[in-house]
């Protein structure tokens, strides 16, 4: 396993009876903000539960911050935070009391727990509401409280399971902003979400799961910034295509729009030369805008 990785897995699998949730999962993920993406049922929550030591893998092993997720469960849990997807808040206590309690559960002494509770509730924007019972909180405030309990003990790594679930657009923006800031605090983040736009906004690396297997894994920039040029041609489109293919470029044509790629040369330069040689013009040219959704759909189709 990669020594620098904060999360690793080798031949990781888990089955609920006859239903296989994860199979042959392998990855090495370096520090940073990692997006865990996949459709519902892809195995995201099962993977997080294995990494937290809640579930035992059926096959293989996983390490978190260098500790075996199953054998060294307490070492792992001393260093991580977890924001579950579902409800996890006691409704009859105030936000302040719950966050102090959550800090104490992570092993912080009482004075430090109170201090950090106050700091973290301010950080997530709940300083005014901290003495209100959680039962009266809106969904957005509850989500921020859940994030606060996940980071109150200053973990090295925090797992966020669907952190924007149920939020209105404004609340979603605030949550994504908070997640983006965590990296600056020295907290590594694994964000699980099926909203790919959220991952693009907040993460620098992605692990894609599909049907319990790893679909893609790598830096987000590598996945979405494919070396492909999109050009809208004016003039003799077939001639331009023929010229590009003759000089070794890959071309996908859709009407006057061409997607041009090349493994050996700069596709921008090839397009420029082809237009010049064939005497044609263009309306627009630029890098192909690839979203994480394109990558996911492309990967799941193959």
């Amino acid at each position: 396993m990669d020594d620098a990785a904060i999360l690793s897995a080798r031949d990781l699998g888990h089955a609920y009876g006859s239903i296989v949730a994860l199979h042959g999962v392998e990855f090495d993920l370096p520090p940073g903000r990692i997006g865990l993406v996949g459709a519902n049922g892809a195995g995201k929550t099962t993977l997080i539960k294995i990494l937290l030591g809640i579930l035992r893998p059926t096959t293989g092993s996983a390490t978190v911050l260098g500790f075996d997720a199953t054998k060294d469960m307490l070492d792992v849990r001393s260093r991580i935070g977890y924001m579950p997807e579902g409800d996890c808040l006691p409704l009859d206590v105030t936000a302040s009391e719950f966050i102090v309690y959550a800090a104490g559960l992570a092993g912080l002494p009482p004075n430090a727990a109170r201090q950090r509770s106050s700091d973290v509730l301010t950080l997530v924007g709940l300083e005014e509401e901290r003495f209100r019972p959680l039962g009266g909180f809106s969904t957005g405030m509850k989500q921020r409280t859940k994030l606060a309990q996940a980071i109150v003990h200053d973990p090295e790594l925090v797992f966020l399971d669907e952190p924007t679930a149920g939020l209105d657009p404004e609340g979603r923006e605030e949550m994504l902003e908070l997640i983006s800031r965590l990296g600056g605090f020295g907290i590594n983040v694994l964000v699980s979400s099926h909203v790919l736009g959220d991952i693009e906004r907040t993460c620098d690396r992605v692990l894609m799961l599909d049907g319990g297997r790893v679909l893609r894994s790598g830096p987000l920039s590598h996945l979405v910034d494919a070396d492909v040029v999109s050009v809208d041609v004016i003039g003799d489109v077939p001639a331009v295509v023929e010229h590009l293919e003759a000089i070794g470029a890959g071309v996908e044509a859709s009407g006057s729009r061409l997607l041009v790629s090349s493994s050996s040369d700069d596709p921008f330069r090839l397009v420029r030369d082809a237009l010049s040689e064939t005497g044609n013009g263009m309306r627009s040219m630029g890098p192909k805008a690839t979203t994480l959704e394109d990558v996911f759909l492309e990967g799941s189709e193959t």
């Binding site: 849990r77 996890c88 912080l108 019972p133 605090f185």
Partner: protein
Amino acid sequence: MTERGAVFDLGYTPHEGERRGRRGAIGTTYRDGLYRVFGIHRRARKKIFPWLLVVFAILPAVVFVGFAFLLSTFAPEADSPFGGHAEYFGITASVVLLFVALAAPELLIPDRREGVLAVYSSRPLRPDDYVGARAASLLTVIAGFMLIPQALMYIGFAALSSDGFFQALGSNANEIPKVLGAAVVYALAFAPVGLLISTIASRKAAATGIYFGVMLIGTALAAALVEASGVPGSRYAALLGVAEHPTHVSDWIFGRVGSSDLVVASTGFDPWVSLAVILVVAAVSSATVVWRYRRIM
């Protein structure tokens, strides 16, 4: 010259101090259990019943000692009509039964219903630690209910003794292991069943109702079965009266066997049988609670 204000963004400060790990997590869970059963840090209505029961448990001891003071002043030759340590367990047992019926569900059910177990699952805490800390909270409170009034009586009666305070303390010291033994028996008889029911029931009110059903109606049912049936071996139905067993054992500890009209005693069962029933029920209940929490945490 004008004074200029400054805005400081304190940002995020990492925690570089002590981390107590599993020990801290268990201690925090235990402390929270104590707060929870007394309604501390909760709304006022959650404080009413627990503190009312505290008053019910302690007030009679104060009355006993006060009456003993009056007797010692105005009628030194008269015996107290209230009895001593053994009799007092009869009062506290009822209060403890009520308290466990309310406290055990409060300790376990909200964490499950509100999903808070997910937070425990991300802390350095094993399922056994969680269950153990919650059980320890309940047992601590039961011990308080059982022993504080007894200590009050022990010290109060010694203070009123004509033999002198320290002389009386010494001569009554043989009561201490009996009181402790009886308290342990009551705690083992009442707490594990309460925790088991709270592990199975999904609502606090249901758990409280089922607990009363098992402890009180079970005893009445046992008596009815024994009385109604003339079938040989029907006396074994008396063993179903779970709430009677600790009293039977307590009477044995204090040398008062036969002084209570217990069904289990009248059907000829020795106190050690009751003790065995208490231990088996406690062991099975505790093992079931731990097994269940290992599956859901």
